[in-house]
């Protein structure tokens, strides 16, 4: 693990922080523009998705693991896919 | 071995004949029950065949390969037969899909009850521990299935030539409106309507029971449907 870190001496942690902050500001300000809830939902969801994945990729350094996609799939995509129908099927299905 | 095979074959045939005889002698009082009988017969016959097959296979294999000697690890064999495996996977799939597709029409029929037009709509309300019936659109038509002073059961009287839509709900906890002989049950859920469409029921008396645990007197939630 230590060798790998030396290969990436500087990771863009601060940059990510700034991007996250900016995205949050955009999110909050979008809610004050008064567009309809239905569109707002999708804008906010996609912004949140980007933010969440930034944290996962950089702060949880999935991006720097030897098998990023495997990890991402097993830990995030598969459980999400399992839980999603359980969450939404009862009410909206 | 032959003897065993012949015996088991006779046994299976006899059992199937018994089931067939049992089911052709009973006339179902309504549609739901008729479908139930039909599908249950098919499934029962298939089940009996499967169970007998498993038993026969187990007994035959056990008899044939029984030997109480230990062999050395080198002699252990691994058998592998892809064709056989794929074969029975396909058979199982076809069987299962067949069972699924014969169950579809009655399923849809039952689920679509709320879209049907009936002559009379009766709302059925579950209480702890009795049923309340009321004819929709008729004032003061409500009555309970139990006479509280005498403890008598008051029947819900239906006419054979009329079609009914039962609108089932509950006033307190979840109950289930279950008429075994008419082949249906629906849960009575507070704040939520379930529908049952009834037509062409044979004359007779049918016991209503509660099939969802609803409290101490769950077993004693009397009701009666009388068809005249």
């Amino acid at each position: 693990m230590t060798e790998e870190t030396h290969e990436h001496p500087s990771r863009p942690y601060f940059k990510v922080l700034v991007i996250l902050a900016v995205l949050t500001i955009i999110e909050v300000s979008v809610t004050y523009t008064g567009i309809s809830e239905a569109i707002l939902l999708w804008i906010l969801l996609s912004l949140a998705f980007v933010k969440a994945n930034l944290v996962i990729a950089f702060y949880m350094h999935v991006k720097y693991e030897p098998k990023p996609w495997l990890l991402y799939t097993i830990v995030f995509v598969l459980p999400f896919a399992l839980a999603f129908p359980m969450a939404f099927f009862p009410t909206v299905g | 071995m032959n003897k065993l095979r012949r015996k088991s074959l006779l046994f299976v045939l006899g059992f199937l004949a018994l089931i067939n005889g049992l089911y052709s002698s009973i006339a179902a009082p309504n549609d739901y029950r008729e479908k139930y009988d039909e599908i249950f017969k098919i499934q029962l016959i298939l089940s009996v065949i499967i169970i007998i097959m498993v038993l026969v296979m187990a007994i035959v294999l056990l008899r044939k390969y029984k030997s109480n000697e230990a062999i050395s690890p080198k002699e252990i064999k691994v058998f592998h037969n892809n064709k056989l495996e794929i074969g029975w996977t396909l058979v199982a799939t076809v069987l299962v899909l067949y069972l699924f597709f014969i169950s579809l029409p009655p399923t849809e029929n039952f689920a679509a009850a709320n879209n049907k037009q009936a002559d009379v709509t009766i709302s059925v309300i579950g209480h702890q521990f009795y049923w309340e019936f009321a004819i929709e659109g008729v004032v003061n038509s409500s009555f309970t299935s139990l006479n509280f002073t005498t403890g008598e059961i008051i029947p819900l009287v239906l006419f054979q030539n009329t079609t009914y839509l039962l609108k089932v709900t509950s006033a307190d906890v979840i109950h289930s409106f279950f008429v075994p002989e008419l082949g249906f049950k629906v849960d009575a859920v507070p704040g939520h309507y379930n529908y049952v469409y009834l037509e062409n029921i044979q004359k007779g008396e049918y016991r209503v029971t509660c099939a969802e645990y609803c409290g101490v007197n769950h077993y004693n939630m009397p009701g009666l449907i009388k068809v005249v």
Binding site: - | V78, H80, A113, G191, Y213
Partner: protein, 522 residues
């Protein structure tokens, strides 16, 4: 071996070891003892219930107590008997199977076990008259702390099972002996992997549900209340999204044990190992999208019943494949007929009987009659008692000499077997008949059904069921007696107690290598 046994024999008499052991075998035995204690008392509850039902009318139990009994019987049997047995046998066997010294986290293993004890205390002390499904308006309106105790007990049990699951997964991933690839991993270990995955993935669901019900009871939160726009059916969905996969938590280790025992005692390898693994994977994944089949009569329209019928039917395919693979494992083998093997056959029988009745329950036109009747009770008892508990009993006989250093009494074991099989077929077979005759479950008194045309049959089959239940009671008494008596007085066991070529539990390094180099014959 012989010297090692003397030290493992009566370790549990030392209180320090009894509480503090972090050895996987000893914790496995603790799990087994724990579930024995629970099964004895939960079984007694079942016998009391059956005795009450022997005659129609009220005999010697009050209705409210009776309702408490079936709640506790169900909950304890599921969480503290069958699941605990799975965890116990997994603890005992998995490290041996994969050649590890212990589990990955020995200490957490101990913590997970001792968490179960308070959990079972809370469930036992609840005696809540709600049924093990705890459907909301009923479970929420009940006063007192009974239901709260039940909820707390289950939350603790869930936490324990998540810890256990992570431990098993880590063990299998990291502690396999060199050369033991995923492909060579035996079927029991695979079954524990799938079981652990289900525990990991499904337990959060029930935790959320339990917490919601807990808050609804204690703070009046409106998760399931109709006035707030929700529905009591919401709980049913959350609950069954866990509880259906939970059924596979119980049955998967039993499947693994059956594969293990049948192949060992037939002295062959399991027929179609790859398809066995794929079947288990299919069962695991499909298990997460079938929960709606518990709600066909609760809301016939939505969510669409046909979807859940289809997915549930699909589970029948891998189950069928597994059944025939087990049977064909015997083909061209050299079968040593001994107690564990007979119990494995009993598993196959129970599994098939439960399986075909399961297909019936899943067909909606039939479910309209069978749902919440004794048919369902018969169905899942066939799977759990006839299936899972048979396999577990067989496995306990299998590893008995390794656990205690002594041999059980074979005659008593055969008596156990005969009473057990006849008992469960009588009880649960007649329960299936009762359901088809229209007797709903959780009925304290069936004399109210006297207007049904087949009332005589209902009485008759209730009596047969009671007789069968008492036969199972006798069988289990013999088992427990044999277990305890032989541990102290049984004859000392040989190094290899059964006349088998490769009892993998007792394998030497050479045997491991031979097994690993074995080629597949076509």
């Amino acid at each position: 071996m012989a010297t090692e046994r003397k030290t493992t024999s009566y370790w549990f008499l030392d209180y320090k070891k009894f509480f503090g052991t972090i050895d996987h075998k000893q914790i496995g035995m603790l799990y087994m003892m724990f579930s024995f204690v629970n099964i004895v008392f939960a079984g007694l509850l079942a016998l009391i219930m059956r005795a009450e039902l022997y005659n129609p009318g009220k005999d010697f139990v009050e209705s409210r107590d009776w309702a408490g009994y079936f709640t506790v019987h169900g909950t304890v049997m599921i969480f503290f008997v069958v699941m605990a047995m799975g965890a116990g046998l997994g603890n005992y066997l998995v490290p041996k199977m994969i050649g590890a010294r212990d589990l990955y986290w020995p200490r957490w293993n101990n913590i997970a076990f001792w968490m179960l004890v308070p959990a079972s205390y809370f469930v036992w002390s609840s005696m809540a008259p709600i049924g093990w499904t705890a459907y909301p308006p009923n479970a929420i309106v009940l006063g007192g702390d009974k239901v709260d105790r039940w909820l707390i007990g289950l939350i603790l049990a869930g936490t324990s099972s998540v810890i256990g699951a992570i431990n098993f997964l880590l063990t299998v991933i990291y502690l396999r002996r060199p050369g033991l690839t995923w492909k060579k991993l035996d079927l029991f270990t695979w079954s524990i992997v799938f079981m652990a995955f289900i525990q990991l993935a499904a337990t959060p669901v029930i935790t959320i549900g339990l917490v919601m019900e807990f808050l609804a009871r204690s703070l009046g939160a409106t998760y399931f209340s109709t006035n707030a726009g929700s529905s009591p059916l919401f709980w049913q969905h959350v609950f069954w999204s866990y509880s259906h996969p939970a059924v596979y938590i119980m049955i998967l280790p039993a499947m693994g044990l059956t594969s293990l025992i049948i192949s060992r005692f037939s002295q062959t390898e399991v027929f179609g190992k790859v398809s066995m693994i794929l079947s288990m994977a299919a069962i695991t994944l499909l298990g997460f999208i079938v929960w709606g089949h518990h709600n066909f009569t609760a809301s016939p329209n939505s969510p669409p019943g046909w979807f859940f019928t289809l997915t549930t039917f699909l589970i029948a395919i891998p189950s069928g494949i597994k059944t025939f693979n087990w049977l064909l494992t015997m083909y061209k083998g050299k079968i040593v007929v001994d107690v564990p093997f007979l119990f494995a056959i009993s598993f196959v029988l129970g599994f098939v009987l439960g399986g075909v009745t399961g297909v019936m329950v899943n067909t909606i036109p039939l479910d309209l009659v069978f749902h919440d009747t004794y048919f369902v009770v018969g169905h899942f008892h066939f799977i759990i008692i006839g299936g899972a508990l048979s396999a577990v009993s067989g496995a306990i006989y299998f590893i008995y000499s390794d656990m205690t250093g002594r041999m059980y009494n074979r005659k008593l074991a055969y008596a156990h077997y005969i009473f057990w099989v006849i008992g469960y077929i009588l009880t649960f077979g007649s329960m299936n008949v009762l359901g088809a005759l229209g007797m709903p479950r959780r009925y304290y008194d069936y004399s109210v059904l006297s207007i049904l045309p087949n009332y005589d049959m209902i009485v008759l089959f209730n009596r047969i069921a009671t007789i069968g239940a008492f036969m199972q009671g006798i069988a289990f008494t013999i088992f427990v007696f044999n277990f305890i008596y032989s541990a102290f007085k049984g004859e000392l066991a040989d190094e290899k107690p059964y006349n088998i070529a490769i009892p993998r539990l007792w394998m030497t390094d050479e045997e491991w290598e031979q097994l690993e180099n074995m080629e597949v014959m076509h």
